[in-house]
Symmetry: C2
Subunit: 419 residues, 2 copies
Amino acid sequence: MTTSTPATREQAVEADRLDPLARYRDDFLIDAGGPIYLDGNSLGRQPRAAFAALAALLDEWGRDLVGAWERWVELPAVVGDRVGCLVGAAPGQVVVSDSTTVNLYKLAVAATDAKVDRPVIVGDANDFPTVRYVLQGVAERHGRKLRLVHRGAAAGVDAGAVAEAVGDDVGLVCLSAVNFRSGAVVDMAAVNQVAHQFGALTLWDLSHAAGVVPVELDTGGADLAVGCGYKYLNGGPGAPAWLYVRTALQRALRQPIWGWWGQRDQFEMAAAYEPLPTAGRFLTGTPAVLGIAALDAGIAPLLDAGLPALWEKTRRLVGLLVDRAEKLLIPLGATNASPADPARRGGHVAISHPDAWAATRALIDRHLVVPDFRPPDVIRLAPVAVYTSYAEVWDAVERIAGVLADPAIRLPAPKKRIT
Amino acid sequence: MTTSTPATREQAVEADRLDPLARYRDDFLIDAGGPIYLDGNSLGRQPRAAFAALAALLDEWGRDLVGAWERWVELPAVVGDRVGCLVGAAPGQVVVSDSTTVNLYKLAVAATDAKVDRPVIVGDANDFPTVRYVLQGVAERHGRKLRLVHRGAAAGVDAGAVAEAVGDDVGLVCLSAVNFRSGAVVDMAAVNQVAHQFGALTLWDLSHAAGVVPVELDTGGADLAVGCGYKYLNGGPGAPAWLYVRTALQRALRQPIWGWWGQRDQFEMAAAYEPLPTAGRFLTGTPAVLGIAALDAGIAPLLDAGLPALWEKTRRLVGLLVDRAEKLLIPLGATNASPADPARRGGHVAISHPDAWAATRALIDRHLVVPDFRPPDVIRLAPVAVYTSYAEVWDAVERIAGVLADPAIRLPAPKKRIT
């Protein structure tokens, strides 16, 4: 099997023929005549198994009613451990819980509380909004100071930038492992090392990393992490999120939302809150059982394929995308807003262009490609190893070039019909 | 139509025949040969429409993918307004969001932040665990003091008890409208009045009240409220919860979890967090779309029946249950642990008995009745207006009496089989 970048459409088709992951495409609902979907890093495609998983869950609810909780009660930890397999976490450290935002909040407060004499949180000025907002809120309410690293999304944060920002006054370094905009990948182990040298904890948002790029939470020395369930994990819209707390830290950290699902001997309903000694103490209220069932169906193909194979194909898809974009889109005024160094690229690519918004609308309205627009000028493109083909990447870039070359997209938008 | 309490099984059957709500029973999945389900206040039965609602949602996800967010983005407010119809809240004040625990936390912190010079939170010593734990956590982390009203679950908190506890040092009064254990109902309007006289805000947990007892958030003067989706609202296991913030308070209050779903012009992804000027500012992360779809199916029969009819039938069912329990269970050593005054009873009844745990296990194991056990000695029974019949209540009490009279239930439990 050749691993070189396809140079013709025929070679792209041949790469699909030889692709060991091609069979997973059938695990997902795909309209053969539909647009090419390159937004799986915003909302993953639907695994065919989601329907059966939800139907089975409804069966349980209908038949066993409240008695089914004997099984459901374990789901946050059971499915958490499965997510853990994708991010290098041994069992007992990941639980499915709440949303990414709420999990970030819980862990950021827990970490800053544990480092009470270190008032500074280091974050990334170009991080995803919810990460920045959560840290702003924690800083403002708890008398902390937020120190933002400014490196530009395309360059991305690296350990050197963190080393410049971190000091004895820093209690927490909170970053995304893959930038939501540029796809720039951070060397997590190097950042963990730098942070630990100064006595700070690390908290990672893996929403754009889990299930795509290699992540080794345990061996890489990460302290805390969170991630969403609806992107590469294919859990569906608003799927529950997950969180990771290293075993050694579980008893030392306390989260701020004291709910009955974090309580030891929960159904004893004791007077005083006494959190579980496990990762379960980071749960809050009743977990979203329907959502967890769909999430479990969403990660099954990833666990089956295995991360090394997923990452190998992702790199080739991204390589092809960048290669074709340089040939077809740069001449049309586009810029590659992702890292120039292939070794720093994650699972998606950012193409900036002055007409990015108009082109995104036209690509969607004409049923050509579903990309993602990120203000002010980025078209974000994510091929996904389990369901995107090399030929789709090839064709998508041609379609994007066709739209960027079409002066009609720059005409004023027609008035919205009131129907 | 007679509204007297049935005195014979024949009269119970006749009451079912005349029951204007009887037709809603067919809207729910019910195994005709199964046990009598009296735990709808822990997990509501499954509406038949839940399957179709989830299938439609999966269709949207499969077909429209990320484009479906144009509709989904409105769901927290749209379904929130529908929940609002059940609790006397005009549109624009209820959003579906997170879990009850997380919503309690957000609103409790928002309220205590707004009353920074009033260090005391008034709560109920007999409230549901998560309410007590959340308040403990808020008190501990934010230097507040928790002042608990002790009245016993059966008596329940009343405005008089609150008046004794409240003073100029109190910023927040947080109570459940219906006690999770005894079913005792609080006069919300009277408590709101007392709290406001002293300048405190009120926060209500309506998990055991919404969809059952009359609740008038707007006209009753409540400030804040939360409730779960999986009990009387029939949203399924771990259904998303909801929260209410009175319009006049929405701009004045800020919640602590600063996420992108609470942000003004969310998709502009601005640098600084600036919350929406609406109830939307109390959202956090991406809402659980699958769960909201199921919740919407769960409340549809309640909205169709209307709360006055639901409450009227609930009172008759509860009256029959208490009447039969007094005749059959009290002689067997049971005590009515719910309010003696019918006017203070909510939608469920607590029967205490030294063998409550053994009886609960026997009732479930023998497929007779599904009640709920609440430590140390309470059998909790909830007939639900949309799917419980008078005959079921009649038969359930007979079955409970049979089990309590059976000495075999007091034998040591057989060893669990390891399968």
